[in-house]
């Protein structure tokens, strides 16, 4: 009896959780198909793909100005790619370094983790002040990029730390013992085996950088990234074109996740034997 009550309570909880998780996205998606004369709320005046065409600037004579996202989208993508590369490389290198305890590894660990702990607004503001003091321009590819790396690097590092933590060192030793150099061992043995972790680290770095707001706000200068540009349009008036844009970016994210899942599946099926070996040992 009690177990059944608990079960239904958990069911309700789960339902509410899903509602709050997907509700906003579903509402947004529905409203993105609003007609040209509808507003950013229910009821739907007329079903149409007008606002998607509006995004692509295919609706001449619209009373609503086009969403100024083209350049900022490219900027955001470029910034996210740059951040992903640098943070993942740093994360893998430091993850490798932390496989053996070294003098000062404790403080260094917390120093790295600090980057994701400190409030973004503060670091952003601080960076703006530092840039002013030493007289460098604030740009998305300069000051903002540095902060994106500082922010995403700890995530990549933690992922790699977890991967290396359950990595069987004897596989690398076996390679060395066959006369293979450490560099070749890393390239031919270690890297293929940690690849799923590297993918996860890349995904973290990319998504965190792609919609980072607070740190970018103070440091990107005049050229805005996508989240800043979208926020900028809110201060005028909200039209359903933003919803259409939201749907498209969500689809883009899902595509990324799909690619990630596929690559992961391939890597993991290659990896299975590794676990088998561990279990038997």
């Amino acid at each position: 009896m009690e177990a059944r009550a608990l079960k239904s309570a958990l069911g309700v909880y789960c339902g509410v959780f899903l509602l709050f998780l997907y509700g906003p996205m579903v509402i947004l998606a529905i409203l993105s198909f609003q007609g040209p004369n509808g507003g950013p709320q229910f009821p739907i005046v007329q079903w149409s793909t007008y606002w998607y065409r509006h995004l692509l600037e295919l609706t001449p004579g619209s009373r609503v100005s086009y969403l100024p996202v083209g350049d900022s989208l490219l900027r955001s993508l470029a910034l996210a790619v740059m951040t992903t590369i640098v943070s993942t490389v740093l994360g893998v290198i430091t993850g490798e370094a932390f496989r053996t305890r070294f003098k000062g590894s404790g403080p260094v660990f917390y120093l790295i983790i600090l980057g994701m702990m400190v409030p973004g607004v503060l670091v952003g503001l601080g960076m703006a002040l530092v840039a002013n003091m030493i007289g460098i321009d604030r740009t998305w590819w300069g000051t903002a990029f540095v902060l994106h790396v500082v922010y995403t690097y700890p995530f990549a590092f933690l992922v790699m730390l977890a991967i290396f933590n359950r990595f069987d060192r004897s596989v690398e030793e076996a390679s060395l013992s066959l006369g293979v150099s450490p560099a070749q061992t890393f390239r031919r043995v270690t890297f293929p085996m940690i690849f799923p972790g590297v993918l996860s680290a890349m995904l973290f770095a990319f998504t965190l950088s792609y919609d980072e707001f607070a740190r970018t706000l103070f440091t990107s200068g005049r050229e805005l990234t996508l989240p800043l540009a979208i926020y900028g349009t809110f201060s005028v008036e909200i039209y359903p074109n933003i919803f259409a844009f939201g749907v498209l970016t969500t689809l883009f994210s899902f595509t990324l996740l799909g690619i990630y899942a596929l690559l992961m599946l391939r890597a993991v099926s290659r990896q299975r034997s590794f676990k088998g070996q561990e279990e038997e040992a």
Binding site: S177, L178, V180, R188, M193, E280
Partner: protein, 365 residues
């Protein structure tokens, strides 16, 4: 001067926190020899093997391979190859890629590489599995792949770290025999780490018994079994009863020591001074057991009296535990063919004796 395949000179390993893993390790291994490091876990045998391979640095001393000091040479440039207990196969490669990996990276021409890989796969009966993934294979197959992978690069010394540890008992016997044949065929020096005395006794030309980071004894298997030199070896190898005593005395080739159960006479395995504290080591299978008749006067040499405390038989061997009183129990093994002995039951008074040439006197621990 003879050239040793492997020579360890005063090798010590001390960790930064001050603990000593290995101290004063001295060993010379001849070409083609099969040497086993035997000892309980934590005795430093694996650490020593890893120092030879180059995975652990040495704190002092020298390691020479073919008279060349390799102490400061990284593992990939030593002419050694190591086989790991968990096989350490590359999970992202198939059987052929695993075995060919060492040659592949050395930029060997593809034709020559393939020829070598094919030959060794054939030798290990792996040809059928060439394109299989290593995760779908059994423990014995993986073990063979690991051996093939380690041998195809033609090392001067093959280092094996408990290579049979992860296999079940039957497979262990099979692979054990294969290893022995393989080593004889290839003539490569093998250094083998194990905690199982049967493996060490059955496989190797010489055994290095280690305890707490030190060498206890280096001997051929038969000598190790029959003439232990320390109390530790006596306890670790075979199934021996030890009786502590004092007042060591010599008479001809025999030595005797006064124990709580009379004087025990045997042979010394290592030089000792007369009058010293010593220990008599009595092998379980060297003792003769007989029913004690109440009238008999105990006059025989090396005779002990007691009651049967426990008895059981495993196959052709009967195991007896004889209680001598005062908490001393001797283990005796006899053949179950002796109907007379097998008729004895728990509580019966018996006497056991052992010829002096089978008893070894070692220094007191």
């Amino acid at each position: 001067m003879t050239i040793h395949d492997l020579e360890l000179i005063d090798v010590c390993k001390t960790y930064p926190d001050g603990t000593t893993a290995v101290s004063d390790f001295n060993l010379q291994v001849e070409p083609g020899e099969f040497v086993a490091f035997l000892g309980p876990s934590g005795c430093g045998k694996t650490t020593t093997l890893r120092m030879i391979a180059g995975f652990e640095s040495i704190s002092s001393g020298r390691i020479m391979i073919k008279s060349k000091d390799v102490s400061n040479i990284p593992p990939e440039r030593r002419p050694t190859s190591m086989i790991f207990q968990n096989y350490a196969l590359f999970p992202h490669m198939n059987v052929r890629e695993n075995i060919g990996f060492g040659l592949d990276v050395k930029k060997m021409p593809a034709a020559e590489r393939d020829r070598k890989v094919d030959r060794i796969m054939d030798m290990f009966g792996l040809s059928e599995l060439a394109e299989r993934k290593v995760d779908r294979l059994s423990g014995g197959q993986r073990q063979r792949i690991a051996l093939a992978r380690g041998l195809v690069v033609e090392p001067q010394i093959l280092l094996l770290d408990e290579p049979l540890g992860a296999l079940d008992a039957n497979l262990r016997r099979v692979i054990q025999n294969e290893l022995k044949l393989l080593q004889r065929e290839l003539g490569i020096t093998f250094v083998f780490v194990t905690h199982a005395q049967s493996e060490a006794l059955g496989l190797s030309d010489r055994i290095v018994v280690m305890n707490s980071g030190r060498i206890e004894q280096i001997s051929r298997p038969h000598e190790l079994y029959t003439r232990p030199r320390t109390a530790f070896v006596a306890h670790f190898i075979g199934s021996n009863t030890t009786l502590a005593g004092s007042d060591l005395a010599f008479e001809g080739e025999n030595a005797s020591v006064q124990t709580a159960f009379g004087r025990m006479t045997g042979r010394c395995s290592t030089p000792m001074a007369a009058g010293a504290q010593a220990m008599a080591v009595i092998p379980a299978e060297a003792m003769r057991i007989s029913a004690a008749s109440p009238k008999a006067v105990p006059t025989g040499q090396n005779q002990l009296h007691g009651r049967i405390h426990m008895r059981h038989a495993v196959g052709s061997i009967g195991h007896f535990k004889i209680d001598l009183g005062g908490g001393h129990v001797v283990d005796v093994e006899t053949s179950t063919d002796n109907k007379h002995l097998m008729a004895l039951t728990v509580g019966d008074a018996v006497s056991v004796d052992c010829p002096p040439e089978r008893i070894t006197i070692v220094p007191a621990s």
